[in-house]
């Protein structure tokens, strides 16, 4: 069902705005399980990952996501990647709510969905500092030994400062 929606959506995109720079591939939600999350968090790379944990029902999350998109756009020439990981309930994902939020709000960054239903299994994996509240964000660069966790809501200026400190 989901692939059908994606296909229809891709077709609409392809036929209506194939002259724009919209990347169809970024409109697909990537599913991520515990082993993939672990691999991502421990990736042996000097790319800086800004990983934001959000959900469709979390108003402060939806408010700050445009700032994450803006950060990704501002520093797109850097070796950095913004990832938006949805921690929505399985029911919300299956009903298409996550996909709807992403498309209606025109999220630019890559959206992922965490398929593990037991949050206790990934909260500490992300950071022991994470109580489980969202929004939450982790900034990682394993080559530089950076792993900074923030359980808070950001405005653009704060987020940019957090990113720029990793560039020093």
């Amino acid at each position: 069902m989901k692939s059908v929606i994606t296909l229809i959506f891709s077709l609409i995109l392809f036929t209506s705005c194939n002259t724009t720079e919209t990347k169809i591939s970024e409109k697909v939600i990537q599913e991520i399980d515990i082993p993939k999350l672990e691999a991502l968090l421990n990736a042996d790379t000097d790319t800086t990952y800004i990983i934001n944990f959000w959900a469709t029902w979390c108003a402060p999350c939806l408010k700050e996501i445009p700032y994450f998109d803006q950060l990704g756009e501002t520093y797109k020439k850097d070796k950095m990647k913004v990832l938006l990981v949805s921690v929505d309930l399985g029911s919300a994902y299956e009903s298409g709510s996550v996909h709807d939020a992403m498309t209606k709000r025109n999220f630019q960054s890559q959206v992922l969905y965490i398929t593990e239903s037991d949050a206790g299994k990934y909260i500490d994996l992300v950071s022991p500092e994470w109580s489980g509240a969202i929004p939450a964000t982790i900034v990682i660069n394993n080559k530089k030994g950076i792993k900074n966790f923030y359980e808070q809501e950001f405005n653009f200026q704060e987020l940019e400062q957090v990113y720029l400190t990793t560039k020093k």
Binding site: A55, W57, C58, P60, V87, L89, G90, S91, S117, D118, A119, G120, K121, I123, D124, E129, W130, S131, G132, A133, I134, P135, Y150, E151, Q152, E158, Q161, V162, L164, T165
Partner: protein, 202 residues
């Protein structure tokens, strides 16, 4: 320079957050908060209780809503055994009108809450306990020293309520207490909504 100041501010803020609140083994403060029936409720009112299943929750958060029926079940199962449920809503109703006292009354009536649903209007109790999200559970046990915190975390590991083999953390903890033991699993984590703190006036 600005970056350093910001980093310092962040580091300071993080320290405050980590230093706040109860850990398992701490003695929890009693409270006197207004219930949805207009009466004030304290733990001290329950002369026969062996302890309490306290939950910080609210009206609007889907994760809180998902657990409402399970709170009622817990209260029905354990009130008679000495561990009643007490629910506390600490959210700032200015930021979230859905979490106002009037809406708490509606929610408690609609869902048939069998337990008090208290309004932590000053947010002092949520801060003292160190609650960060809704729902956030604290089980306390009456001891000679006071109300000892014996469990902090989530009700179970299946918010969606679809896994028949879910681990029911709160039930297991209370069952341990009723068997005369401290809970073997006394700390768990779950995703929840952040508590909506009042904006600091500058």
């Amino acid at each position: 320079m600005r970056k350093y100041i910001l980093t310092l501010v962040f580091a300071f803020a993080a320290t405050i957050v980590l230093a706040q609140g109860y850990q398992v083994g701490d003695i929890a403060a009693d409270f006197k908060l207004k219930n949805v029936d207009g009466k004030m409720v304290s733990m001290a009112d329950y002369k026969d209780a062996k302890g309490f299943i306290i939950t910080f929750t609210c009206n609007h958060c889907p994760y809180s809503v998902a657990y409402e029926d399970r709170l009622v079940e817990l209260d029905k199962k354990y009130k008679s055994k000495g561990y009643p449920v007490i629910a506390i809503n600490p959210n700032d109703a200015v930021a979230y009108p859905a979490d106002s006292y009037d809406n708490m009354k509606v929610r408690a009536k609609d869902k048939g809450f069998t337990f008090p649903y208290l309004h932590d209007e000053s947010q002092a109790i949520a801060k003292a306990y160190g609650a960060t999200r809704t729902p956030h559970m604290y089980i306390v046990q009456k001891t000679a020293k006071g109300m000892e915190v014996v469990y902090i975390g989530s009700i179970d590991n299946d918010t969606d309520n679809k896994n028949p083999n879910k681990e029911k953390y709160v039930e297991a903890a209370v069952n341990d207490l009723l068997a005369g033991k401290k809970p073997t699993n006394n700390f768990t984590k779950a995703v929840g909504c952040t508590i909506k703190w009042k904006k600091q006036s500058n």
